[in-house]
């Protein structure tokens, strides 16, 4: 049984507070045959500047170091892509570094940017991420993604990452979903919700008005996962600007506090040894004593059904922010919905529901902006951006897009940005006639989860309005 030391579990204590000053994102698409990567990065940085009423040139004068995230050199066929982007953004001779943690790359880039400010090295930093996934055909793209699995022990088997992932989904589906048609429908509801939310997001790649039946009848990718259960493959860019208090208030009168925690687990699921469930502040050991009885086969942790990295990232981030119970303390979340089933698994890892009971977050209606059962605001809406299933998964940008979207709600700019006719037009789209304002009214605190593959890296980012700071935060 693996255990962790007190030193390893220490809640990080930053030397000073770090603020999210602004953020931006490009449009996301499956392909941009007539745009280079840096044009999309410039779109994201320009939006960040405009959001605080300045220009990119003026904003750049405050930036001291830069943290760039893109998942794979292979996709862009360019080593040291961070140097290309850094130059094209005109940020030389500032120190910069590339961050690579698979699907968690965006979150990890922000993690580094925040620590640089907290340490005092920099007063203002840029975290910017992107991915270019359109320059190889899909099967070669799948091979590249599979290269992020273990090259000797996994990749030669099919060169298909979905397969390595889907064995976890299968185990969760059979043990905790009990292979029930009702559980399958709950999974489908997530796809319907997130693709539906994407309809109102001008940046989104995959808006779709679909039904549970459509999801259940979409082609099987790896049973029980079907095509509409899976996230998008995207091209695009997103960024965040963070700063210390003094610099943040120089740039804007409305910065947000930001806390980032990070966790990891073995690259190969094969290597995950049995351990006790690390508890979050609102959980007790007793509540899991009979987990194996309620869900036969479910007593092995994290086994194939839990993501230890996500749990650890939340342990650190909740500790830093003073979050005791995520459902009570957070106003909404942007989760890494790579697949509908992994979304359900995440509800448990991040403590929105206890292990084994993730499905009830959807079934209760708590995860909706407007709970379809009560017609009232959902208790803790998830992925109003559309998430990875509806908005995008341009890997290195994803974690930053999520934080950008969280910021828009907390800054009360969400309706303006998402509802702007001009923005829809600038992307060559028509603002939908039935456009809805999905702003989470009165939101003070949000969580974004950035997650790599089968859970090798996960970051948890909490952004909050400074006046609503929780007691007990570090």
């Amino acid at each position: 049984m693996i255990t962790f030391s007190k030193e390893q579990l220490k809640i990080p204590k930053m030397s000073r507070d770090v603020y999210l000053v602004t953020a931006g994102e490009s449009e996301f698409r499956r392909a941009f045959p007539e745009k280079r990567q840096e044009e999309l990065a410039i779109d994201a940085l320009t939006m960040a500047a405009e959001l605080i009423g300045t220009t990119p040139a003026k904003l750049k004068k405050f930036i001291h170091t830069c943290y760039y995230g893109y998942f794979a050199d292979h996709f862009g066929d360019q080593l040291l892509g961070e140097a290309v982007i850094h130059d094209r953004l005109g940020l030389d001779p500032l120190g910069n570094v590339g961050i690579k943690t698979g699907g968690a790359t965006g979150g990890s880039a922000l993690w580094e940017a925040v620590k640089a400010v907290a340490s005092g090295y920099s007063d203002c930093t840029l975290a910017l991420g992107w991915e270019r996934m359109d320059e190889v055909p899909t099967d070669e793209g799948n091979n590249y993604i599979a290269c992020a699995a273990d090259k000797d022990w996994e990749t030669p088997m099919g060169h298909i990452y979905t397969g390595y992932y889907a064995v976890m989904a299968q185990r969760y589906w059979q043990i905790f979903g009990k292979s029930e048609p009702s559980f399958r429908e709950t999974m489908a509801k997530i796809a319907v919700k997130n693709r539906g939310y994407a309809i109102h997001n001008p940046f989104a790649q995959g808006p779709m008005k679909i039904t549970v039946k459509d999801v259940l009848e979409s082609p099987i990718v790896a049973y029980p996962l079907r095509a509409l259960d899976c996230c998008l493959m995207s091209v695009g860019s997103a960024c965040c600007i963070v700063a210390d208090k003094k610099t943040a208030y120089k740039l804007t009168d409305d910065p947000l506090l930001v806390h980032v925690g990070a966790g990891s687990h073995s690259l190969r699921v094969a290597d995950r040894r049995d351990m006790q469930i690390p508890l979050l502040p609102h959980e007790t050991k007793e509540q899991y004593a009979d987990l194996g009885k309620r869900f036969p086969g479910g007593d092995r942790y994290p086994g194939f059904s839990g993501f230890l990295a996500a749990r650890m990232a939340c342990h650190y981030a909740y500790g830093m922010a003073g979050v005791k119970d995520p459902t009570k303390d957070l106003d909404f979340v942007e989760l890494h919905d790579a697949f509908t089933i992994s979304d359900i698994q995440s509800y448990e890892d991040v403590g929105i529901r206890p292990y084994g009971e993730g499905r009830t977050y959807v079934e209760s209606g708590d995860c909706y902006v407007i709970n379809p059962k009560t017609k009232k605001p959902g208790k803790l809406p998830a992925n109003p951006s559309g998430g990875l299933i509806g908005c995008m998964h341009a890997v290195g940008a994803t974690g930053l897009m999520q934080v950008c979207e969280c910021g828009l709600h907390l800054w009360k700019k969400h309706a303006d940005i998402h509802g702007s006719e001009a923005r829809w037009r600038s992307f060559g789209k028509k603002k939908p006639r039935n456009w809805q304002d999905l702003t989470i009214k009165g939101a003070k605190r949000a969580l974004a989860i950035s997650h790599a593959g089968v859970g090798s890296h996960v970051t948890a980012t909490i952004v909050e309005r400074p006046e609503a700071r929780l007691k007990g935060g570090k």
Partner: protein
């Protein structure tokens, strides 16, 4: 352009590598030059170019080589921690690793073929029709994760089933590509306990 054409039309010789005196000695063609082509949009405006290439990498198995060498010999090797001061002394690592992840001392290779034959059980599985480029396995691929019952083994090996339909809890036994081995993990496969020899894929045996 003329030079490119000349190089491209040369006869391709299969790339080979030997280790001599601690150095790689290579022969044959490790890459092929293929001319690039322009990409236009429907208005005949240039958008970009293709960047073709074909190349061979060299890769060292290092301390794990014994695992990949043993599979075509019909042996499944684990790696055991022999450090008595380790937090978890005696751990058998499978997937094989050269050093113990807990204490970082060099592991000792141990034959766990019998454990696999007698206790291999499907922990989870997935059947998929989709593959990435360069796949060499038969479609659909039936991924399985194999659990072993042994006091020192706490990990669950990933593999693929070569016969029958997988289900959680199914007893499986290893099969080995003893003929024409690739010396990759695909030389190791699994079949349900009791599968007759006649049903094994070409070049594989128990």
């Amino acid at each position: 352009m003329a030079a490119t054409k000349k190089t491209a039309s040369k006869k391709f010789v299969e790339p080979r590598v030997k280790v001599v005196n601690g150095q790689y000695k290579v022969s044959g063609n490790f890459h092929r030059i293929i001319p690039n082509t322009p990409i236009y949009n429907e208005k005949n405006k240039l958008c970009g170019v293709t960047n073709p290439r074909e190349l061979t990498h060299i890769h060292s198995y290092g301390g794990e080589a014994i695992f990949f060498e043993s599979v075509p010999k019909g042996k499944l090797m684990g790696a055991q921690c022999v450090n008595p001061d380790c937090e978890f002394p005696g751990t058998i690592w499978i997937p094989f690793r050269s050093c113990c992840a807990d204490c970082l001392t060099r592991n000792k290779p141990v034959d766990i073929t019998k454990v696999a034959q007698e206790t291999g059980t499907v922990h989870s599985f997935m059947v998929t029709e989709r593959t990435g480029a360069f796949n060499t396995l038969e479609i659909p691929i039936k991924f399985i994760n194999v659990e072993f019952t042994h006091p020192n083994i706490d990990t669950i090996l990933m593999g693929y089933l070569s016969y029958g339909e997988p289900e959680i809890g199914m007893r499986v036994v290893p099969i080995f590509k003893k003929k024409n081995p690739t010396f990759t993990i695909t030389d190791l496969s699994w079949v349900p306990l009791g599968t007759p020899k006649s049903k094994l894929p070409k070049d594989f045996s128990f």
